[in-house]
């Protein structure tokens, strides 16, 4: 093990003592209570797992601790002293380091520059001391088990290596609390093992570690305590030895028993509308053969990086498959363009609403009319009035607030923005609706409304294919569930056979016990 002792120099860290505590932490965003009176403690020398479904409030809690958000109410104490960080720099200086899931390194900087970005090692006259920078960077890279030179450019590294550089960056300061958000999502087996060794080592040095993960198998043997969040509230903190997987899953999902689903799935379906045969794209998904019938809601679920988004984008023909075929209503789809997909009646409501779904600076009515512009073509060109009239009808039907067709889409809340994207595609006469995380970042009320819209689509005979990592969503809307793991469909559940534990089992392990 390389030298790690510098990390504990000069601070008193004793095992079992709370380093970081939050009391009654509360944070609201317009329309959503993201975190509601949460108490959370991290002890020196423990690994504390923070679990919860998407939108449960994990990221909000981390960002509050890291000083990126300031709490509406409640208190954060670090080593017994109340702190109020006004920015990430303050938290970092106090010894709180965070490695975010969607980490971002600047591609055109070297690894050494990246590690010390914003915290440069300075020599005389405030000039960067490159010798010391590279020496320190080397030490940190050795610590996380990376052999590449410190002068390597970030763009030359793979995702796993970049993740480890992030870890090195988090360790550049003497970290007293280290927060890892889904750290293994992009790591290979070997890299993960290396990271776990490092975590054990840091634990021995009395660093308090918060470990956020979806992978229940991973936390066994690694963590000491577990805290589960659901809908912004803490469901309690438990010693890892006292809680089993089944209990954790039920705390995460909020279902003690297997949920009874509200809609009957014993509908007689017609012939398959959308069929894929051995569809593959290298590095993204492999050998996908699925079919979706008219009036059916099929949900693909899996962890981040399981290839769901890529699969949907391929079905929408924004990507070209390497091998395999897509059939629509028995006819082979050859042309590879989004325009032809829309013409054929396939539409995609994308995951990245702001990047792919909406023009934020355009008014709502223009966003809604975007895919069906020709319909408003009159004798003197496009009629703005009939575009607005159409938008008003959609706004009314989908209950979009505020109900003003002419306001910029970017001023709406997340849920209402998502409804505008839905309105755009519901306006077309599509038969196949692909949804990618339809309710991500959407408040509970809008979520139920969106689910209702999806059910109505199916009731009107449309074929619906949803990619979702929201367990509750999967359980409430799906007629059939396909579990996806590392680019492959590993299990299929239909109708009453769907239950939360089997699903979690399938997407994390790839098999059903």
């Amino acid at each position: 093990m390389p030298d790690i002792d510098r990390h504990s120099e000069g601070t008193e860290l004793r095992a079992g003592v709370d380093i970081l505590s939050t009391r009654g932490l509360r944070k609201t965003f317009p329309g959503v209570v993201a975190l509601d009176t949460v108490d959370f403690d991290v002890r020196a020398g423990e690994v504390h797992a923070l679990l919860g479904a998407n939108g449960a409030g994990k990221s909000t809690l981390i960002k509050l601790i890291a000083g990126l958000y300031s709490p509406d109410a409640g208190e954060i104490t670090l080593s017994g002293r109340s702190v109020n960080f006004t920015g990430a720099a303050g938290a970092m200086a106090a010894g709180v380091s965070v490695i975010y899931q969607d980490f971002a390194l600047i591609p055109y900087l070297s690894v050494a520059e990246s590690i010390f970005l914003g915290n440069e090692i300075l020599g005389p006259f405030g000039i960067v001391d490159w010798t010391a920078t590279h020496r320190e960077a080397r030490r940190l890279l050795d610590l996380v088990g990376c052999a590449f030179p410190t002068g390597t450019m970030v763009w030359q590294l793979g995702t796993g290596q970049r993740q480890l550089v992030e870890v090195a960056k988090a360790l550049r300061r003497e970290a007293r609390v280290l927060i890892l958000d889904e750290p293994t999502a992009s790591l290979s087996q070997g890299e993960s093992a290396r990271l776990f060794d490092l975590i054990h080592e840091l634990k021995r040095k009395q660093v308090g570690i918060v470990y956020v993960s979806h992978r229940l198998d991973e936390i066994a043997g690694l963590v000491d305590r577990v805290t589960v969040l659901r809908d912004g509230r803490s469901m309690g903190t438990f010693a890892a030895d006292d809680i089993d997987r089944r209990k954790i899953v039920s705390l995460i999902t909020g279902h003690d028993a297997f949920p009874t689903r509200s809609r009957q799935s014993a509908k007689p379906y017609e012939t398959p509308l959308l069929v894929t045969k051995q569809l593959s794209r290298s590095g993204e998904f492999e050998d996908i053969s699925i079919d979706v019938r008219c009036g059916e809601i099929v949900v693909i679920t899996g962890l981040i990086g399981s290839g769901r988004t890529e699969l949907l984008e391929t079905l929408f023909r924004a990507r070209r498959p390497d091998t395999g075929e897509i059939f629509l209503d028995g006819r082979r789809c050859d042309s590879a363009s989004v325009r032809s997909a829309i013409r054929d009646g396939i539409v995609l409501i994308p995951e990245d609403r702001r990047g792919n779904g909406l023009c934020l600076i355009l008014p709502m009515y223009e966003n809604i009319a975007m895919a069906i512009m020709r319909r408003f073509l009159g004798a003197v060109g496009l009629s703005r009035r009939s575009e607005i009239k159409h938008a008003d009808a959609m706004i009314h039907a989908l209950n979009i607030r505020p109900a003003v067709a002419t306001i910029e889409a970017g001023t709406l809340s997340g849920g209402n923005q998502q409804k505008v994207v839905l309105a755009k595609w519901l306006s077309t006469d599509a038969n196949v609706f692909l949804f990618d995380e339809p309710t991500q970042g959407v408040d509970v009320g809008a979520k139920n409304e969106i689910h209702e819209i999806i059910r109505n689509l199916a009731a009107r005979g449309k074929a619906v294919l949803i990619a979702s990592s929201d367990l509750e969503e999967v359980l409430t809307v799906a007629d059939r569930v396909l579990a996806m793991r590392q680019g492959r469909i590993v299990a299929e559940f239909s109708g009453a056979a769907v239950n939360a534990s089997d699903l979690v089992e399938a997407i994390t392990h790839g098999s059903v016990s």
Binding site: A318, V338, L362, M370, L382, E408, T411, K424
Partner: protein, 330 residues
């Protein structure tokens, strides 16, 4: 949220675009102040003079509005003016005005098409493509004319040629009529035709436009074709006014004036917001500002300082207005 919804719904459906208030007020204030300060300002002959002089710029700015609306730029406009000037004059020497107009304007349209194809199909950055084109076409105009001006255009074609650049229909100058027609056409294209709306969608968020089934490549070709075509007409009118072919006709600050006018008018340099009527307003602000300062015998050097300041000021005012409106609704 409910309070906001209530307030927003009280607002009238069609309201005055807040972005034009700034330049509109500036123009009105300027006209009042100059009228008081100079007896020569508020006269028919002065206004006619200003409108004739700014007609080519109106056309250039209307064309430049298209690429700026998609978040791009067309730097090749000035060189297109030069090319059209020498090709028109060169062809006219042997074959008369009709063919000369077709060849001259056609040559500029082809440059616009080339820009569009390189940007839309080969996906090269608009800035790079049109910067390269700026040099190439400026060079081509020099090569075609042998580096010198083409004078001695044949009668009676030359009179008709001048009529386009400086003639009158009744009291109304011909170039102003042409500019008005072109602005009307581009306004209709941008507001009432699907491909015009697609320009805003591409400028607002190219990825969204793509995922909404808009042919982004075709839209970009259209955009640069329009810009090139409008620059060609401007080049034709400018050459008519000087009744010659000038290989450096567009080499001055014509291009920067056209971009400046679009920005002063309130079209966002990041794309997605704005329109050609705003650009026309921007042209008037600059044209009347310069005219008034001339009448007051203020040097052109000071005029440049003022125009530059107006460009920065107008963008700043626009950003203030936008962040204010965002706050109200957030």
């Amino acid at each position: 949220m409910t309070a906001v919804a209530g307030r927003a719904s009280l607002r009238p459906r069609v309201r005055i675009d807040a972005a034009v208030i700034g330049p509109g007020l500036a123009l009105a204030a300027m006209i009042v102040v100059y009228s008081v300060l100079s007896p020569h300002f508020l006269t028919v002959s002065n206004f006619t003079n200003v409108l004739v002089q700014c007609s080519p710029l109106l056309i250039l700015a209307a064309g430049q509005t298209f690429p700026i609306l998609m978040g791009g730029l067309d730097l090749s406009q000035g060189s297109i003016v030069s090319l059209v000037s020498v090709v028109t004059a060169g062809v006219m020497l042997d074959r008369g005005l009709g063919l000369a107009a077709i060849a001259g304007i056609g040559s500029g349209v082809l440059v616009g098409l080339a820009n569009g194809v390189l940007i839309g199909r080969f996906r090269i950055q608009p800035f790079i493509v049109t910067l390269g084109m700026l040099y190439m076409i400026a060079g081509a105009a020099m090569v075609y004319s042998g580096g010198s001006s083409l004078f001695g255009l044949p009668q009676p074609d030359v009179d008709t040629f001048f009529w386009f650049g400086g003639g009158f229909v009744g009291p109304i100058p011909v170039p102003l009529i042409i500019a008005a027609i072109l602005i009307a056409i581009s306004h209709l294209l941008l507001t009432r035709v699907p491909i015009g709306r697609a320009v805003y969608a591409v400028g607002g968020n190219e990825q969204v436009a793509l995922m909404s089934g808009i042919d982004v490549g075709k839209t970009k070709i259209f955009i640069y074709l329009m810009s090139g075509a409008f620059a060609s007409v401007a080049g034709f009118l400018l050459s008519g006014r000087v009744i010659s072919g000038q290989p450096i006709l567009g080499a001055g600050d014509l291009l920067l004036q056209s971009i400046g006018a679009v920005i002063i008018g309130g079209t966002s340099i990041f794309g997605g917001r704005g329109g050609v009527l705003r650009s026309a307003l921007g042209v008037f602000v600059v044209a009347f500002m310069v005219n008034g300062l001339n009448l007051l015998a203020i040097s052109t050097f000071i005029q440049e300082i003022i125009v530059g300041a107006i460009i920065i000021l107008s963008v700043w005012l626009n950003s203030l207005h936008r962040s204010g409106s965002m706050k109200r609704l957030a």
